[in-house]
Symmetry: C2
DNA sequence: AAAAGCACTGTTATAATATAACAATATCTA
DNA sequence: TAGATATTGTTATATTATAACAGTGCTTTT
C-alpha cells in the first residue's frame, strides 16, 4: 500500500515512475497489435508528470507546443486509448485524468482527491471490493465497474491551518 | 436495506415515495428558513418520478410546460438547492440527478447504475465507510465526501439475455 | 406604511467538456 | 504493390454548467 502514498510524500523519483509507465504502455500496445504513437506517448507523459488530475483541454497547449495537431479529438482519442490500456484513469468528479500508479497489477481502486491542492492518490480497495460485490449481488445487481472517489484533505493541506 | 432494492422491483407505491420526499423537503426548507418554491417542488417531483437519473437539460421542457422560465440556471439552481437538502443526488458518471430514497436517515451510500436500462438504486455503504476512512487516515488523508458509483447490470436486464 | 434587507427568479451570454462525421495519411499484411 | 486497417487531421457541433446582473417579491424593522 506504500505506493498509494507516493503522491502525498513529495520527493520521489518521478521520472522513474514515468519510465515504467512508458514501458507498460509499449508492452500493452504490442500485445494488442496497436501502436504507442508519439501523440499517445506524449499524452501519457503529460498525465504522469502531474500528481494532479489534468483536464483534456489543459493538455492541448502542450500538444501544440510539441508540433502536433491540437484539436480536442486528438487528445480525447489518446486519452481513450490510454484508458483502455489501464494506464490512465478518469476522475469523474473533476472531469480530469491521472496516471495509474500500478498498471501492472490491476486491482480495484479508489482515488483520494485533496479539495485544496487537488493532489490525487490511488487507494487499493481490494479488501472492500468483494464484500461490496456480494452485497450488490444480494440485491440482484452485478457490478462490472467500480468508481470510488474520495474528496477531502491531504496531510500537507491539513497541516497548513488555512482550511 | 430493503428500500435499496425498490428501484429494481418494479411495482411499488411510487406516489407515496414522492409524497414523502415532498414532506421532507417542506420540513427541511422550513428548518433552514428557506422556501420550497413551486419551481423547486416541481424539480423535486420530476427527479423523483424517475428511477433513472435525469440530466438537467431533460428537466427544462417540463419546466417550460408548467409555465416557468426554463433557462438552464433555473433548473441548476433548483437542483443545487435540493442537493444541499440531501433530497437529490448527483450521479457524477452520468452528469445526472436522482432522488435520494431515504432523506431522513443520512448514511453513506453508493449507487448501482444499470448500464442497459439506466435504472439506478442506492446502496447503504455504512459497513465499509468506517474502514475506508481509517485506511485513508493511515495514509494521511481525511475523507470529507465519498462518491461510490457502481456500473453493471440489474437483475431484470440480466434475465433478458441480450446483454 | 415605508424602507431596507434578503431570497428568489429572469435573462443573456458564455465557459467548459466532449463527440460526430468525414477526409487524409500512414502502417501493416497478403 | 494493392488492399485493409489503424491513426490522425479538420470542421463543426453537442452537451453540461456557470457568470453576471437586473428584476421581483417576501418579511422584518422602524
Amino acid at each position: 500500500m506504500l505506493e498509494s502514498n507516493i503522491a502525498f510524500n513529495q520527493p520521489h523519483n518521478h521520472s522513474r515512475c514515468i519510465e515504467s509507465a512508458l514501458e507498460s504502455a509499449r508492452a500493452l500496445s504490442k500485445a494488442r497489435g496497436q501502436r504507442l504513437t508519439p501523440i499517445r506517448e506524449l499524452v501519457l507523459k503529460l498525465v504522469w508528470q502531474s500528481h494532479k488530475p489534468l483536464g483534456a483541454y489543459e493538455l492541448l497547449p502542450a500538444l501544440a507546443e510539441a508540433g502536433f495537431n491540437s484539436a480536442p479529438p486528438t487528445v480525447y482519442r489518446a486519452l481513450e486509448y490510454l484508458l483502455e490500456l489501464g494506464l490512465v484513469h478518469r476522475i469523474s468528479l473533476l472531469n480530469a485524468f491521472v496516471g495509474c500508479p500500478e498498471p501492472q497489477h490491476q486491482h480495484p481502486s479508489g482515488f483520494m482527491i485533496c479539495r485544496k491542492c487537488k493532489t490525487t492518490a490511488e487507494l487499493d480497495t481490494s479488501q472492500f471490493s468483494q464484500d461490496l460485490g456480494n452485497k450488490a449481488k444480494e440485491l440482484g445487481f452485478l457490478i462490472e465497474e467500480e468508481t470510488l472517489e474520495l474528496v477531502g484533505l491531504c496531510q500537507q493541506c491539513r497541516e497548513k491551518q488555512d482550511v
